[in-house]
Amino acid sequence: MKRLLLIGVALATLLAGPASAQSPDKLLNASYDVARELFVQVNAAFTAGHPGVTIDQSHAGTSKQARAIVEGLEADVVTFNQVTDIDFLVKNGFVSEDWQSDFPNASSPFYSLPSFLVRAGNPKGIKDWGDLVRDDVKVIFPNPKTSGNARYTYLAATAYAREAFANDEAKVKEFVTRLFDNVPVFDTGGRAATTTFVERGIGDVLITFESETTGIRKEFGEDKFESIVPSVSLLAEFPVAIVDKVVDKRGSRELAKNYLDFLYTPEGQKILAENGNRVNDPAVAAGFKDRFPEVRLVKVEDVFGGWPTVQKEHFASGALLDQIYGER
């Protein structure tokens, strides 16, 4: 028995492995679900300027990624689509508290917004949020409980309704409830919702990041779908951060910083814009002006009082979102 125990312990130590032996010419970027194609291009451009460096990618819902990192996924950097999930890493001591001052624009190298994609010819004549609660319209977006993408959609719809109904909370709630009533299927992530809309042919309108609607038209044919940008939407910032606990352990801080800095260079910003993301670099943004229609963007801080408040009032168990589900 004793010998057996020893063997077991020895095996376990072997399996755990010397983690520090990894060379810092490798980075793992943990990112969100629909950013695969984007970071393939970003990584190719970055490694072209840094020979011998490999960037590994990991994609899933950002909340899932944040949890995976806390549970041991050794990601050097995170490129998420939601501040809340980085705050979760802060709370668990993986990312420093002042991460938003590490990089420009509160550490968001690009931004996007919930936008609409309709079928060719826009048969239902969908123009704005108000059309989505009509009885003859079926709307596709993922489950706000499992997808950051859909959380933005929910908040954007709420922000629209607050303006339309002059902050009459009862009417706002009714509007959002009717919107949710029109959703035939809640997928767990943005990409799954895209599949439901594009390949299964379900629904009249898909709500997802503008970058994803651009990507879908590129992938499946510009003549099959039309992008509709609503009159007002929510500013969706895509925060990036260095995972301090991991880079300190692996000695990869410098490389991680270079990598995230690259996203702010003209070259990086150009790749981001080509993939349908709006960027802040004025020169690059000017070059893509005709691709990104004007839209009035409201901020979470202005309408909802910041992410922690949003989390508490809308997304926590039993909060507004659950009440809307409950009223179905």
């Binding site: 028995m1 125990l5 499992t146 035939p184 809640f186 767990t188 409950g326």
Partner: protein
């Protein structure tokens, strides 16, 4: 003393217990521990909330339907595989295991593609007014698909070992086909069927990958318990996730315990008859 090929009891039992502790007891213990860190009041509030109860109802009803379907269809399949010789029998035999080998997410995507309103089956069924994808029927279909092998594979060996003399004797005594099946074959198959049913049911309760693609995931209507656990985790609410998971765990455990008990009784019965 009888010669033993494998090393002695202390070593083999040691390895086995070590393995079981590491792989089974430890994770389940951690789960219970997590759930137990809630007060009993909080625990009860979480596991009895309207949404959780709705998810149990959806999950259990679909699992029952899927298991009933598998019971009939799986037994017929096992019967055909054992009793008849036909071209393609080996292939069919191999295909039965496919739901085991296939990643369940792949099964889910394939089934959804088939049963979606524009899929092959979905468009046909749509014409007669049945929607499968994104309804509770879809959940049942996915469950039936992933758990079918359990019944087939538990019944098949027993059928193979069934002594033809028993049936011949019954026949020579003038038993009708129905009576032979009901009074001779079925009692002998019962323990295997029960084992298959309980495994199939437990698998249905826990199935996640195949279902979330076809379910529609509407809270209160087509949301399965496994997805609710996943959602609670996404909310960083580990305790609530563990609490709801413990309900599934207890249900699966009770299910296995009851069938073990029934199986033991059925076995006693068959031994006495034999």
């Amino acid at each position: 003393m009888k010669h033993r090929v494998l090393p002695g009891l202390s070593l083999s039992l040691g390895i086995t217990l070590f393995y079981v502790c590491l792989i089974v007891v430890l994770p389940l213990g951690a789960l219970i521990f997590k759930a137990a860190s809630l007060g009993s009041e909080d625990y009860w509030r979480i596991v009895s909330s309207g949404r959780a109860v709705a998810s149990y109802r959806v999950t259990v009803l679909a699992a029952l339907a899927a298991t009933a379907f598998n019971l009939v269809f799986g037994m017929a399949l096992a019967w055909v595989l054992v009793r008849y010789e036909f071209p393609g029998r080996r292939l069919l035999d191999a295909i039965v295991d496919l739901p085991f080998a296939l990643p369940t997410a792949v099964a889910g995507i394939a089934l959804t593609a088939l049963f979606a309103p524009n899929g092959w089956f979905g468009s046909l069924l749509g014409e007669i007014g049945i929607t499968v994808a994104y309804t509770q029927i879809g959940i049942m279909v996915a469950m039936a698909f992933t758990s079918l092998p359990f019944i087939v594979r538990t019944v098949q060996p027993v059928l193979e070992d069934l002594d033809p003399a028993l049936e011949e004797a019954a026949q020579s005594l003038g038993g009708s086909d129905r009576a032979i099946f009901r009074k001779v074959i079925l009692p002998l198959l019962t323990p295997a069927l029960l084992a298959g049913v309980s495994l199939s049911f437990a698998r249905c309760l826990g199935e996640f990958g195949a279902i979330i693609f076809i379910a529609g995931n509407q809270p209160m209507e087509t949301e399965i318990t496994a997805l609710l656990i996943f959602i609670r985790l996404e909310e960083y609410d580990y305790q609530a996730a563990a609490a709801i998971a413990s309900v599934l765990l207890i249900a699966a455990f009770l299910m296995l315990a009851v069938t073990n008990f029934l199986q033991a009784r059925a076995l006693r019965y068959t031994v006495r008859v034999a």
